[in-house]
C-alpha cells in the first residue's frame, strides 16, 4: 500500500526548528567543499602553469643579463681589431686591391717575379648573397721561377690575406702558372635578438683568430663592399 506523505508548511517549520542548529555548519561545509573544488584546485593548477611561465621568463632574463654582461665586458677596440683581421682574411666583397697585394707579397717572399695575371670576375649584376655560400674570385697568374719557388709561393700565399686556395699549379722549367681562388663572403643579415644567447668566441675560434692574425696583409684598411663592384648592398651593419 502506498503511503501518502503530506509535506505542508507546518511540517517544514517543525523540521526546520528541530534541525536549525545543523544548517550553519552544514552550509559552511558545503561552501568550503565547493570553494575547494571550484576555486582552490583550479588555482593550484594555474599555479603550476604560473611557475612554469615564471621559470621561462626567468631563463629569458638570465640570457638577457648574460648577453648584457658579455657585451659590457667586450673591449670595443679589441673587437674592432678582430673584425678588421677577420674581414681582411674573408672580405665582404671582391677585394681586388687585397688580392693583388697578397699575390705580390707572396711572390716577393717566395723570390719569384710576378708576370701577367687575369681575373675571372663573373656576373657583376648578381649580389654576392645570391650566388653561393662562399663566392670566389678566380685569378690566373704567371710567375717567373722554378718548382721550388712555386712551393714557397703557395706556402706564403696560404699565410696571406685574403684567404685563397690553389686550384692548379703548372711549372715548366722557369715559369709557374697558378690558378687561385680567392674567397669572400657577403655580410649576412644581422638580426640581433637580445633574448637569444650571443655567441662569444670559443677556444677554437680564438685559435683560428690567433692564427690568421699572424697572416700577412691583415693590417690594411678594410675595403667597404659598397665601394667595390659586388653589387648594391650596404656593408656597414653598425
Amino acid at each position: 500500500m502506498k503511503k501518502n506523505i503530506n509535506i505542508d508548511k507546518e511540517v517544514i517549520t517543525v523540521l526546520y526548528k528541530k534541525n536549525k542548529e545543523y544548517f550553519l555548519p552544514l552550509g559552511i561545509i558545503i561552501i568550503c567543499v565547493a570553494l575547494f573544488i571550484f576555486v582552490i584546485i583550479p588555482q593550484i593548477y594555474s599555479l603550476f602553469d604560473l611557475q612554469k611561465k615564471s621559470k621561462q621568463e626567468f631563463e629569458k632574463l638570465n640570457v638577457l643579463k648574460t648577453n648584457y654582461t658579455n657585451l659590457l665586458n667586450i673591449n670595443d677596440a679589441t673587437l674592432t681589431s678582430q673584425y678588421n683581421v677577420t674581414s681582411s682574411v674573408l672580405p665582404v666583397g671582391k677585394d681586388f686591391a687585397g688580392i693583388l697585394n697578397a699575390v705580390s707579397i707572396a711572390a716577393s717572399k717566395a723570390g719569384l717575379s710576378l708576370g701577367a695575371f687575369e681575373f675571372s670576375v663573373g656576373d657583376l649584376s648578381k649580389p654576392p648573397t645570391s650566388v653561393k655560400k662562399f663566392p670566389i674570385l678566380e685569378l690566373t697568374l704567371n710567375l717567373e721561377g722554378d718548382t721550388n719557388g712555386a712551393s714557397r709561393f703557395i706556402k706564403e700565399l696560404y699565410k696571406t690575406a685574403p684567404i685563397s686556395e690553389i686550384i692548379n699549379v703548372k711549372t715548366n722549367y722557369n715559369s709557374v702558372n697558378a690558378t687561385i681562388n680567392f674567397y669572400y663572403k657577403a655580410i649576412p643579415p644581422v638580426n640581433f635578438n637580445e633574448q637569444t644567447p650571443l655567441k662569444m668566441l670559443s677556444g677554437a675560434d680564438l685559435t683560428v683568430l690567433s692564427g690568421i692574425s699572424k697572416w700577412a696583409n691583415t693590417e690594411r684598411q678594410i675595403i667597404s663592399p659598397s665601394a667595390s663592384s659586388s653589387g648594391g648592398f650596404n656593408a656597414n651593419p653598425f
Partner: protein, 178 residues
C-alpha cells in the same frame, strides 16, 4: 500503569547524540574553513612569488641597457660569421706544399724537374735526365711514395721520351692526389 517507561532519560540521550553530532559537524566545518583559508593564503603568497610582472619589468630594463650596445653585438656576430667561414675554408682547402716538397725530394741530383702540373685530383710530373739510372731512382722513389698512400696513389707512367739532340730522357708520370 507501566513504571519502566522513562521518557525523560530517552530525551536526554537524543539530546546528547544531537549535541555530539552538532559538535562533530562544527569541528568539520571549522577544519574545512581553516583549510580553505590556509590554501587561499598559500596560493596568494605563491602567486605573488611567481609573479611574471616583476621579471618582465626587469627584462625590459636589461633590454634597454642592451640597446645601447647593439653595435657591439652586431660586430660580434660578424666576427663570429667571418671566423666560421674562415675555419670552413681552412678545413677544406688543399695544401700542396708538402706534396710538392715530397715529389721534388724524389728527384735525384742528376735529374731535373721538367714540368709539374698539380690540380685538385691529380699530379702530372715530367723529369728529365741524361742518365737512365737517375730516372730509375726517381721512379723508385715515386713508387715508394705511392705505396705509402699518404699523399698520392695510382702511379702511372705516361711515357718516356728521348731527345736525341741532347741525349736527354724525359719521364712523365701521373698520380692521383689523396
Amino acid at each position: 500503569m507501566n513504571s519502566n517507561i522513562n521518557l525523560l532519560q530517552q530525551k536526554d540521550d537524543q539530546l546528547i547524540k544531537k549535541q555530539k553530532r552538532l559538535k562533530i559537524l562544527k569541528l568539520i566545518a571549522g577544519i574545512l574553513l581553516a583549510t580553505v583559508a590556509l590554501f587561499s593564503i598559500i596560493i596568494f603568497i605563491l602567486n605573488t612569488k611567481f609573479s611574471v610582472t616583476s621579471i618582465k619589468n626587469e627584462q625590459n630594463s636589461v633590454i634597454n641597457s642592451i640597446s645601447a650596445l647593439k653595435a657591439k653585438a652586431a660586430k660580434m656576430i660578424l666576427v663570429n660569421d667571418r671566423i666560421k667561414g674562415t675555419s670552413e675554408i681552412l678545413k677544406k682547402r688543399k695544401d700542396y706544399t708538402s706534396l710538392i716538397q715530397k715529389v721534388l725530394n724524389s728527384v735525384p741530383g742528376e735529374a731535373k724537374t721538367a714540368g709539374l702540373d698539380i690540380n685538385k685530383d691529380s699530379l702530372n710530373m715530367s723529369v728529365s735526365s741524361n742518365s737512365l739510372l737517375s730516372i730509375d731512382t726517381y721512379l723508385e722513389n715515386m713508387i715508394k711514395l705511392s705505396q705509402e698512400k699518404k699523399l698520392i696513389k695510382n702511379l702511372v707512367i705516361k711515357g718516356i721520351n728521348v731527345n736525341f739532340k741532347n741525349g736527354e730522357f724525359i719521364l712523365s708520370v701521373n698520380a692521383t692526389i689523396l
